[in-house]
Symmetry: C2
Subunit: 227 residues, 2 copies
């Protein structure tokens, strides 16, 4: 699900009409100028696996086959899916692998998924598996056991250096996201993930997207809260 | 799921320590004094039926049997459940009826439920069924057809006259709810539902509760946004 709204032109016209200065980030809940189209995407549950575990699941020498390119260049949803087996033997079929392969295995679930599975998932950024439960992943050739790494991925915003300069943030900072709809919400404290090649994109999970009806959003605002 | 936090004592002490005046509701995002314990409950999917349709579903003369009392006096989850059959013949088993019976049938789903069923549910307050889809409800004795009335119930806060006076609101006004947790969120524009016998209680749905991890909330704030 992708929702794209280009606010920059409208906002510039309004600011000019009202003779407002550009926001300086120090007023409470000031809306920043959005430098480009703000893209907010929902990440449905998925997993990441290492190349060696991919081969345990799908056979020696197996390589992921891209099924759909993601918004960030070089990343894709793979054709390959696995069966997730939780501690109470509850399962999720067709858990999609995202590529390319990583140096660690990780399963990212929404709380709705975790509750259905009987799992207590912590909210974590990628790679932080403290106090997270494990699971079994089953492929057509074999099964792997993850000791830990089943998390709810912390909501975050990818951006490149130019976006970071526009928002006045650095890697690891926090921004808030307001989604206006028939059930508006502000998701607070999105983690800023700055990388040279990243495009500006917010990642929410399915619970968050459904809570605010992102698919029918009329307005998206990414902003910082002043002191 | 019930989360109860009594902030009033803490807030009064902080206000006294800082010599802040009581909030007057005119500052932006001012936190109001919370007059009593703020209760925030998640309403899982459920339905309401008329007495005559209850009898079509469960047999002539059938009366609802209370299974669990709800927080609002006189309301209960019933022993009786029905099977919900949507337009694509996708189903929900064990959809619980809430009592007492009403003068209209209504099914309240979270968007996650609606998406699974292939339904396009509008966000509506109770009894407002404009542009809402219908469904079949199946009981042990019979089936009823709802022409419409499958909605996502608009988030709302029940309160009595004393609460309304404390918050400075009237029936139909709007308040915002901030839930602090590892994934904090502000749900905006909760509908105020004032009734003489109501107790102060916010109702969210499961998507909203999961989006902000209500079960592990550390702080709940109900507030109005100033001009």
């Amino acid at each position: 699900m992708t929702t794209v709204l280009d606010r920059s032109v409208v906002e510039r016209l309004v600011r000019e009409a009202l003779r407002m200065p550009p926001s300086n980030g120090h007023a409470p809940f000031t809306l920043r100028d959005i430098p480009t189209k703000l893209v907010v995407n929902v990440s449905a549950r998925h997993c990441h696996v290492t190349q060696s575990d991919l081969e345990r699941l799908f056979g020696p020498g197996h390589k992921l086959t891209p099924y759909k390119q993601l918004y960030q260049d070089g990343f894709f949803a793979a054709e390959e899916t696995v069966t997730f087996i939780g501690p109470r033997h509850r399962m999720i079929n067709n858990l999609r692998i995202l590529g390319p392969c990583r140096d660690h295995n990780q399963v990212e679930l929404a709380f709705s998924d975790a509750i259905m599975l009987g799992l207590d998932c912590p909210v974590r950024k990628s790679g932080d598996h403290r106090d997270s439960p494990g699971a079994y992943l089953l492929g057509p050739v074999g099964m792997i056991r993850m000791e830990r790494g089943v998390i709810r991925h912390e909501r975050h915003v990818h951006m490149g250096p130019a976006d970071a300069a526009e928002y006045g943030v650095k890697d690891g900072d926090r921004l808030h996201l307001r989604i206006k709809s028939a059930c508006s919400a502000v998701f607070e404290d999105l983690l800023v993930r700055l990388a040279p090649a990243s495009k500006l994109e917010v990642h929410l999970d399915t619970d968050e997207g459904n809570a605010c009806n992102l698919a029918r959003a009329t307005k998206l605002e990414l902003f910082s809260q002043g002191p």
